[in-house]
């Protein structure tokens, strides 16, 4: 049984924690998830920019990109010798394990961390933990302070840029809600509903983790030792992810932090110290004013 951040957040008898298992080994990079997300959530387009980065013209997650398919081209470690000089693209490293060229694809999304720093730092209560254990921004509450933006260890959340009155929710922090509205009616989030190859699977996190482990075991049996889970471990620095991944290489290859840590890890300690200081201050005040009375 996994921990239940919804219960920790005060929900009485919450439903099972929901999440995403994104199996990158079957992703075909079609970007249906990106479009389905935008269609459902009325997320505006994020600019017509050719990035020259494989088939990725989205770039990164942000206020107007809640799903982002990454494309990683990995050269073969021993290329067929054509007598031609080989050049690598910047940032491409050889792991030494493979002999084939690989084109890795991964649909990235908000991780809905068990310990979510964005939520910790939100001063307005806009970011909150839902009954499904997910982390959601409430656009009617967010004041656009932006504290959450640097707090996220994955660089997921951002404030929307645009012209007020033209683009909706300008200045408001935005990210994946795991289709909170759809969950209220028992529907699958839009991205997972659309995904043609079941690379994005939605469900109860317990079940997804079990399924993912089974998948990794199968792949190991099939001679794919590189297969690994990312964010399925509750003992990691963020207490495990509500949206976790099956990867075919090191997390860094996918631009994911290898060992993410909730940026507010030290906050309780800091608050404790701040509280003691405040008490001391109060005591001093009492002493001063008390003595003066």
């Amino acid at each position: 049984m996994t921990s239940n951040p919804a219960r920790d957040a005060g929900w009485v008898d919450p439903p099972p924690r929901k999440g995403f298992f994104t199996d990158t080994s079957v992703c075909i990079g079609c970007k249906a998830c990106e479009v389905a997300c935008k269609e459902w959530n009325a997320v505006p387009d994020d600019g017509m920019n050719f990035l020259g980065s494989s088939y990725d013209n989205t770039g990164q997650l942000g206020a107007s990109t809640w799903r982002h398919v990454k494309f990683i081209e990995q050269p073969a470690s021993t290329a067929v010798d054509l007598g031609l000089p080989r050049v690598g693209l910047p940032g491409q490293q050889d792991t030494g394990e493979r002999t084939d060229f690989r084109w890795l694809m991964e649909s990235d999304v908000c991780k809905h961390c068990t310990h979510a720093a964005c939520l910790d730092v939100c001063p307005t209560g806009s970011l909150f933990r839902t009954e499904f254990g997910t982390v959601v921004v409430q656009e009617d509450i967010c004041n656009g302070c932006g504290y959450c933006v640097p707090a996220c260890p994955f660089g997921v959340i951002d404030r929307r840029i645009g012209e007020k009155g033209v683009t909706k929710n300008v200045g408001i922090a935005q990210k994946c809600t795991l289709c909170y509205d759809r969950l209220h009616d028992g529907l699958t989030p839009a991205c997972a509903q659309a995904c043609p190859t079941e690379s994005i699977q939605f469900g109860d996190l317990d079940e997804l983790r079990a399924r993912a482990q089974e998948r990794v075991d199968t792949m190991h049996d099939q001679g794919i030792p590189q297969a690994r889970l990312y964010g399925a471990d509750e003992s990691d620095g963020v207490g495990g992810l509500g949206a976790f991944f099956l990867l075919l290489d090191e997390p860094e290859v996918y631009g994911l932090p290898p060992d993410p840590v909730v940026t507010t890890k030290d906050l309780p300690e800091m608050w404790k110290k701040a509280g003691l200081a405040a008490l001391a201050l109060l005591a001093g005040a009492v002493a001063v004013f008390g003595s003066g009375s």
């Binding site: 080994s25 249906a32 479009v35 600019g47 017509m48 088939y55 054509l82 031609l84 043609p196 079941e198």
Partner: protein, 892 residues
């Protein structure tokens, strides 16, 4: 596709997407399925999950390759050499499925002594006439048949006008009288199809494959081993292709190559086997079945030809042989029913069912010929109905120049496509070749209704009709084609109602009264009912077997008859897949007769038993054929049945003749008729290729359709002087994020942002050779155009070693066009192409050609024209270049 029609009898995909899950091996070649058909690709992933091997054979490493077990990069335009290599491997190593081949194919049939193979004639078959660049196919016929094997008909290659006959086998194999064919069941006779096949492919060795395709022999052999290990009684392999195969000057023969392999390996008509043609538009199968094509009538009935089909009787004899086997033998019933559907009481036995109301064709009236005729001011008016030729057709400049010559143009589309705006913002305006003020074309843009704004059927890739219901009214002036053409028909008929001209009789007598629906619009269901057909008393037909040649039935498209079986719109059935078995027969309706796997009689052995328990599908239970599908065979015909002497049509089918549309009931390893460019696939180089054909003296397809005109300059090829000016191979393709010429994607911000700019894909080595930088610009040049694209340097493109030299390939997605209305615009890859067409189907070669590439953006204005002219001059291009179909060295 005639490649399928001339092999199996029908031109549609032989299986359905869900059946892929049962394949043990899936070869995807000439298709980028994961990118172009992502949702269909889920069934490949299901098969993979079950342990199937997935092989992707393609010039580029694509999103399909990324999840395949292996990717085999080959040179664009060399697939026949690869397929021929597999055929040779199968024959040399005796890996064919002997019982299947003997019983269900024409392997044992003997050919005539006059037949000469490409091995004897250095790349030509017997019957070639150099003066017309056409074949007389008489010598390709079976031994023992009179003439060309047909009664009163003509040879497939003998059509010196349209030579479009190849396509007319979408649902009926070529005409031929099979009764007297000589056979050798030992397959040893030197003139048996089997031995001819063996000799024809003997030189397609792994080493030759390496030399032609640039695929290392070891990698090629891995494919051979995977395919043969996964075929036979217990296992099946499926072949998947799409326009990566059809868009070549020898495209039909690519598909024939796969057909031969699948027949030899016994994969046809069986679960997990077959050939799956993936089509790119929602109803492109439908628009071939009910053809908006010049050479066909509904149901693949040929349009009458001026020369041969002067009378009704001549037409009938030309399209079918009275002695032939199978269901095509009833073609008369299908034509009469069509004519009755169109002209009702005015079509009588006495007037040959109003056959003379049909216009005649006399040559190529295809879209490329029509564009040239526009340039020559022979065409005044043009309707564009959801197609954008300024971007999507080969030789974009020719398309735009042609449209600038029109008197009037009607564009009906969802968006203001480039074909509607070429007169004000096309590339020729910028280059100065055209001035808006000089263009006399009157343009009507009529907004079209979207799929949600009308009811009707699409026929998807597995021949399945699915009804879509209208959800909302079209906005503003938007109209469905149904509403528009119904109205246009009424208006035209009103204008000619009182005419005494004979030419107006077909209009005056046309059945054009359709009921209106609740919204006051023509009722699409009524049109589908007309297509399905009715008895004289108004009852709907249950299928084409009820059609009669006596005028007592009417039906607009015989192969669709049954879509209204039991008076129910079968295409609208939506019983959830989860409530049915995996074949899901109660979802939609597939032609013919709601069959999902074609030729499925072959899923059982000659005695009617499954070849294996693992691959059981249809079988004989002693009285009927039973199984999860509708049997593609007479339901109660026993496996042991032998047709009596003199039987014809369906009655002549023996109990072991699974290819029920073929004149001899068999699958054709060798096509004695039906194709205009040869009975067997032979490797020819693309019309424009930097490579000399390593297999034959004949360089390119000797029957390809050429247009020797100054508007269509072609490049020198092979070792011709000047060929080195265009040293690189290029190919075009689609991306997941866009749709064809962009009319349904480049106006959508959500899709445009995912692939905003036109780009070219080159290998790192190629980039170094030409100084191209990733994210920078490149200019790609051919004899027709110079266009610019952003650069993606990627190891997904690899240089290939072909015939001792390194060949670089350039990849170009073709979605963008020059204009100002779309969300994203850009130069169009199709501007690069000249016109060289497959002679069977008039499809242009846009999957392989030769180009140069230079770093940086292209020049503007007149400088652009000078650049292209300079290339032409450097390559010594004249109007004669590349237009000689027979390679000179062949001449005695």
């Amino acid at each position: 596709m005639p490649g399928l029609g001339a092999s199996f009898g029908r031109g549609g995909a032989t299986t359905f997407l869900q059946d892929l899950q049962h394949s043990d091996c899936i070869v995807i070649q000439g298709s980028n399925m994961a990118e172009c058909h992502p949702v269909g690709f889920q069934w490949v992933m299901e098969a993979k999950k079950r342990g199937a091997k997935v092989i992707h054979i393609d010039p580029r490493f694509t999103r399909t390759s990324a999840v395949a077990d292996s990717h085999v990069p080959l040179r664009a335009g060399s697939d026949i050499a690869f397929l021929g290599g597999i055929i040779n491997y199968v024959l040399q190593h005796e890996k064919y499925f002997k019982e299947y081949v003997l019983a269900y194919t024409n392997a044992s049939f003997l050919l005539r002594e006059e037949f000469q193979d490409t091995e004897e004639l250095d790349g030509l078959f017997s019957g070639y006439d150099a003066s017309t660049a056409k074949y007389d196919s008489t010598s390709w016929s079976y031994a023992g048949l009179e003439g060309d094997g047909r009664e009163g008909g003509k040879g497939a290659g003998g059509d010196d006008l349209g030579h479009a006959e190849g396509e007319s086998h979408g649902s009926g194999g070529p005409a031929l009288n099979p009764n007297e064919v000589q056979k050798d069941w030992t397959l040893q006779h030197p003139r048996s199809v089997f031995q001819v096949l063996k000799r024809h492919y003997a030189r397609y060795t792994p080493e030759m494959v390496e030399q032609v395709c640039g695929v290392p022999a070891s990698q090629f052999l891995e494919v051979c081993e995977a395919v043969t290990a996964n075929s036979g009684r217990e296992r099946t392999t499926c072949w998947v292709y799409s326009v990566g195969w059809t868009q070549h000057s020898v495209g039909v023969q690519y598909i024939r190559g796969a057909a031969i392999i699948q027949l030899l390996l016994g994969n046809m008509g069986r679960p997990g086997g077959g050939i799956l043609a993936l089509r790119g538009h929602a109803s492109i199968q439908g628009s071939t079945d009910i053809p908006t094509l010049f050479n066909l009538l509904p149901g693949y009935l040929p349009m009458p030809q001026a020369a041969e089909h002067e009378t009704w009787e001549a037409y009938l004899d030309g399209i079918r042989s009275p002695q032939q086997k199978g269901f095509w033998g009833n073609a008369e019933s299908y034509v009469v029913s069509l004519l009755k559907a169109w002209w009702g009481e005015h079509a009588t036995k006495e007037n040959g069912w109003a056959f003379d109301y049909l216009p005649r064709i006399s040559g190529d009236h295809g879209t490329y010929q029509t564009a040239l005729d526009m340039v020559d001011d022979k065409v005044e008016g043009y309707f564009l109905l959801g197609q954008n030729p300024a971007v999507g057709s080969a030789h974009g400049k020719l398309q735009r120049l042609g449209m600038a010559h029109l008197k009037w143009l009607v564009v009906r589309d969802l968006n203001m496509i480039e074909s509607a705006t070429f007169w004000k913002d096309g590339p020729e305006i910028e280059s100065g070749e055209l001035r808006t003020e000089d263009i006399g074309t009157e343009v009507f843009f009529l907004p079209a209704a979207a799929h949600t704004e009308k009811s009707g059927t699409f026929t998807q890739t597995q021949r399945m009709l699915q009804w879509h219901h209208k959800a909302v009214d079209p906005p503003g002036d938007c109209q469905s084609e149904l509403a528009f053409f119904y109205l246009l028909g009424q208006k035209v008929r009103a204008r000619l109602a009182d005419s005494g001209e004979a030419r107006d009789l077909p209009l005056q007598h046309l059945t054009w009264d359709y009921p209106l629906d609740a919204d006051g619009e023509i009722d699409a269901e009524a049109v589908l009912q007309e297509i399905n057909g009715r008895h004289a008393d108004g009852r709907l037909l249950s299928g084409y077997l009820e059609m009669k040649p006596d005028g007592s039935t009417a039906g607009g498209c015989w192969i669709y008859s049954g879509v209204y079986a039991d008076g129910v719109n079968q295409s609208a059935r939506r019983k959830p897949g989860s409530e049915q078995d995996w074949v899901a027969k109660e979802w939609g309706w597939a032609w013919p007769y709601n069959r999902r796997i074609l030729y499925n009689r072959a899923s059982a052995d000659p005695d009617g038993k499954p070849w294996s328990a693992r691959k059981a599908y249809m079988q004989w239970d002693g009285e009927h054929w039973v199984g999860p599908d509708n049997v593609d065979f007479p339901k109660d015909r026993a496996p042991s049945y032998r047709a009596p002497e003199g039987a014809t049509g369906p009655d002549a089918l023996n109990g072991d003749d699974p290819f029920v549309m073929m004149a001899d009931g068999k699958g054709w390893l060798f096509s004695p008729s039906g194709l205009v460019d040869g009975p067997l696939p032979a490797h020819y180089e693309p019309a424009e290729s930097p490579v000399v054909n390593p297999l034959y003296g004949q360089q390119a397809n000797p029957t390809r359709e050429v247009f020797k005109r100054k508007e269509n300059p072609m490049q020198p090829s092979g070792d011709e002087p000047g060929a080195d000016v265009f040293p690189y191979v290029f190919t075009t393709y689609r991306l997941t994020e866009h749709h064809t010429a962009g009319g349904m994607s480049r106006w959508l911000p959500y899709l445009s942002e995912l692939q905003p700019e036109f780009f070219c894909e080159v290998s790192p080595a190629h980039a170094r050779e030409r100084g191209l930088e990733n994210h920078g610009w490149a200019t790609i040049i051919t004899a027709r155009a110079a266009i610019e694209a952003r650069v993606l340097v990627t190891e997904r493109v690899v240089p290939l070693r072909v015939g001792g030299k390194v060949v670089h390939q350039v990849g170009l997605p073709y979605h963008w066009g020059v204009g100002t209305d779309a969300v994203v615009t850009g130069d169009s890859a199709n501007d690069l192409f000249g016109l060289a067409l497959d002679a069977n189907v008039h499809i242009q070669e846009t999957k392989a050609a030769a180009c140069d590439i230079q770093p940086g953006r292209r020049p503007r204005g007149e400088a652009l024209l000078r650049m292209v002219e300079e290339y032409r001059s450097r390559a010594g291009i004249t109007v004669e270049t590349g237009q000689q179909r027979m390679t000179q060295r062949n001449e005695p």
